[in-house]
Symmetry: C2
Amino acid sequence: MSNWLIKKNSFEIEDIEKHGSKFLLGNGFMGYRGTMEEYSANELVAVNLAGFFDLAENSNWRESVNAPNPLYTVVSVNGTELNLSTLTPVSHCQTLDIKNGIHTRKTNFFVDGINITVKAERFVSMSRENVMALKYSITADKDVKVTLKTGIDKNIWSISGAHLNFINEEYNGNLLKLDCETVQLKNKLTVYEAVLGLCDIENRDLLHNCDINLKANTEFEFTKFGGVYHGGSLLNSEADFTAAVFAGYQQLKAEHITAWEKVWENSDVIIEGDEEAQLALRYSIYHLCSIAPHNTDKCGIPARGLSGQVYKGAAFWDTEMFMLPFFQFTDSVVARNLLKYRVNTIDGAKKKAKEFGHEGAFFAWESQETGEDACTLFNVTDIFTNRPQRTYFKDKQIHVSADIVFAMWDYCRTTGDYTLLCDGGLELMYECLWFYYTYSSFKVYKNRYELLDVVGPDEYHERVNNNAFTNVMVKHAANIFVQAIDKVKTLNPDFLKDFDKDLNWAYDFAEKLYVPQPNEKGIIEQFDGYFSLEDVTPEVLKTRELMANEYWGGHGLASNTMTLKQADVVMMLNVFRNEYNTEIKKSNWEFYEPYTEHGSSLSACAYAIVAAEIGYTDWAYKYFMKTASVDLTGNTKQYLGSLYIGGTHPAANGGAWSTAIFGFAGVSFTNDCLDISPRLPSNWQSLSFKLNWKGEKLNIKASSKGVEIDGIVNSRVTVYGKDY
Amino acid sequence: MSNWLIKKNSFEIEDIEKHGSKFLLGNGFMGYRGTMEEYSANELVAVNLAGFFDLAENSNWRESVNAPNPLYTVVSVNGTELNLSTLTPVSHCQTLDIKNGIHTRKTNFFVDGINITVKAERFVSMSRENVMALKYSITADKDVKVTLKTGIDKNIWSISGAHLNFINEEYNGNLLKLDCETVQLKNKLTVYEAVLGLCDIENRDLLHNCDINLKANTEFEFTKFGGVYHGGSLLNSEADFTAAVFAGYQQLKAEHITAWEKVWENSDVIIEGDEEAQLALRYSIYHLCSIAPHNTDKCGIPARGLSGQVYKGAAFWDTEMFMLPFFQFTDSVVARNLLKYRVNTIDGAKKKAKEFGHEGAFFAWESQETGEDACTLFNVTDIFTNRPQRTYFKDKQIHVSADIVFAMWDYCRTTGDYTLLCDGGLELMYECLWFYYTYSSFKVYKNRYELLDVVGPDEYHERVNNNAFTNVMVKHAANIFVQAIDKVKTLNPDFLKDFDKDLNWAYDFAEKLYVPQPNEKGIIEQFDGYFSLEDVTPEVLKTRELMANEYWGGHGLASNTMTLKQADVVMMLNVFRNEYNTEIKKSNWEFYEPYTEHGSSLSACAYAIVAAEIGYTDWAYKYFMKTASVDLTGNTKQYLGSLYIGGTHPAANGGAWSTAIFGFAGVSFTNDCLDISPRLPSNWQSLSFKLNWKGEKLNIKASSKGVEIDGIVNSRVTVYGKDY
């Protein structure tokens, strides 16, 4: 069990923020932060909702909405609240069981000569997405009367203003109901709460209030339930919630555990010989599954998961490039939902392209429910002047549309499900490519298209020309589009009749788009002119800082130097691992590694995977552990300038899985063929996992002996797809 | 005489810097600042040399060299130096006679009970470019022995480090000689000095030292001479200098006055009815003629003239767009020298194009003797962090090459001298156009070329797309190139045989280059997206300043607003005055005027000329006076961030002339035809001037009665060129 349990046996007040993310529960519909039941807005309690957004009054941006907290519970003894954030405990233990998605706390307080222990266990149901449940108990070492308040807490954390108007409260015995609507669009949200096991309750202010006469050393326990509903689920919300309450805590918990078992059945990765890596990797997978949109294609995965409103609750390229590989190989329903979400939000992407003078589909840098870009043109505050600082993430980080095309094609060819193409996918590809075509500059005298004035993954260098990652990505997207048309011709020729477009431009663009090539030393220049920037590393830049949390991009310290925020060329080598040889990978990895700050949690995994490929196993392991344990340690950048950016890191979680599978197990694939050639860290005896490959579930065990698939051992394995 | 005399009858110590420029003498080879004879480096004495540059040790940039001062002279009474900067005078008067290019000072000191008057008169010879002369006298109201030191002062002002190594000193009777060489390239410079009228001299430290027994109320006078030689003039320098000395002060002065008379004969403009405007305009013309390269095609005119090393002594687009019109109509030798200087420096322009990944000729933003760009990529210091700030003047202000093509064609068609085309001009045009072609982006789906990522004249908005001024300028340059080829076909068909180039691209480019058009309100957007910037004026931005001298461009206050530094669209309407109708001019003038800071001395004249054209005569007069008196008042921006930018403003001087001629006299021209339709300010009775038009000198008098050319009066005049 130890490899499934996150545990903290003490309490430090400064960990409240970090532990809220570390002990997060979630089911894709909502995330519940790892806070104590008695906490409130100050301690960053949040029931963070996926795909539910609002713009508060006088706010600069829309962000995801946090729901009122239906698990709020606090006990008082003689007027003293048993609140971990204000009362020093005798002992405290907090755990997260990642196998079953269950959070516990046990805290011993000493008040007025009495030892009182509070225990709580809770989960956010994986089988009923609107429901959460709590079992709460109190034990004292003397007879004592305590006061209990439990109900719905409206005092919720919100980064950028208040999002909910509270329009109706109902009390129906032990059941509370709170109807809300959002400030901007008046979208409805209803929160339910019910308790079982309490009596003599006085209901007011959305709370059940009662006194409890504890008997010495006798545990007093009750259970309670929360329900959060918006959108379509509102229709039968009361019936849905009361059914859950009547099922009771034990039954809900059993269902929930079964649902998690199914999740793990497909997604677990077993490392023999390295307990620390095992826990870190499982923890990463836990987070991915906790926030995946299992039942909807109306929302993406926010860049900080469901741990809060950081980055406005919006989805970035992180989803397609860092998380989707995991889902497409372990849960193709989620993978399809995520891609369909992009199809569904294409109008926002078209609007954005037009706004910036282009055509086609320019997907949002920060995508919310409509696909309109939540990113502002001033995404950072200059800490020297406190002025908003113009950033070019929104209008110049054009690779996002190509990332989506790329991911869609990867989904199709690994799952074998090409139906998505005729369900909006081909149209999406068309619009994305047309966007790039209108964006591109044709250099007549060179007979080639170029992509000028862009921002690549390395955000410290804004407005560069011919960023290698971007150009290669777009070139591939163009080729994918051409292949996708051929595919649809075979699968569904009638469909193409409706798709009546002249495509000569696309063929020309795919052929003539310029792609930076390795120089005589095998190095691919990150963008035109990168090599002539000041040759300094992040360590040197650090010594030039005048203030903490200086933003290094924009007009900051890194922009005119070779220091980069995150893997850019190395990310490209990772993505296109079959198209660059080991020598090129080595040259570039060695060249760029010293210049890379890893100021983004998206960086380390690219370095890890490429390091594994080129035989730098120690480096690969170091970067793997950095990626896999990012949310376990919580040692990440918390501020960008003055902007809070803490929370969980699903892209790194996905990157950890990818490092294990693509890096260490050596999985790679083409349209037809899955290839596995392991290169495990020396202390790993084996690595076992399941992969969906064109509809078939493969049980794979990689070890120093070779690869075992469904029990058959080979030194290296190539699997041919079925439908080719 | 009053309209020719600049006079200051008092002394304020804080004026030393300003008066150095205001009372400047010059002859195109060198400028001598309006400082006192006893001043030294602290008081910014400079003999600023045209076209002579150096890079000092540990300096960031090359700049023009200031020569040692051969007119240095100081008198002491009982050990007290008669130094205006340290001794409060009883009275002081400084004058500059702009008709004759003669500087005087008369200062009365009171020391130890004695009234002593120092008088000095000097000039920088307009007839012998290496020579300057000084007449110096002392008068006391009591018998007194004074000590005189006069010679060469090596302690000279230099902004960016010491440029000269002093390698040899010679004393030959009353003649001193100092041989120097520059630090970077070891270029030779020799300074001579000689005195006439002194005896019992002790020569040491490059000084003549002697005691003089003054008799009460009896003037003691002597004369001295300075010579400054470098480059070709070094060869016969000693003979040249001694010849000047032997000619003596009176003879040199007479020659000098005659040379200035010739200058004024061609360039004077007479305003009847407005003494203030008359003086300001003449003063502007004086400055232009003082710094014009009369005898060389190896240097341009620095942006601060020969008043010092500001802007590195480099030539900008100012020359072609603001000064050249004056010269081409009044002194075509100078005009041709200036254009030939560009032809001579084309290798620097080709090198620059290559450096930034293009081809052809990308002329320097700051051009020195080789045409290599003296502009750095970090031209401003951020005053909040003291860090160098990346500016895009050098690599993105691409219009400069088109400005040169444009100016060259204007020179040809107004002077009728097309020989320049076969003397490197056509090749220059070719290379400039090829540069633009390689720079441009062809948007295939729009079937047009665009110019993306540029900086227009308004430097507060860097890296914009399709800047109207730039696109229109380049479009014209392309059309000029095509016309120039036709012209050469007629004039010199053999030449074109050598010029064996495929030019289809040029015709295509000229045809398809996009030019922003007026919108439904008649407004031409300054660049793509300008209209969606924050709508605030300079007055509002001023209130947002956190520190004095904040730089508003780059990441500063103006960049994301509609506030502009200087005329941009209005400059374009000025340059292409025949191609936009009055309605368009009115709409744009009215629209852009409130947003314009006039943070550059290049701005007001464009507003003045267009205002005159659209009948806003009061506005035209206001902006004319602002332009014409910029160096008279000295009320200009002295600092850009922490960079000193004071000095004279030859572009504004040229703009003042252009406003009088193109604005008020209403002169315009096409290839064939000179058109004059006056619109004088109401208090101007007439405006008289001479214009060279295709080799013929026209005497023009514009008044409310109409136009008089060579004595013949018309209500409005059109002159047809002779060689068409």
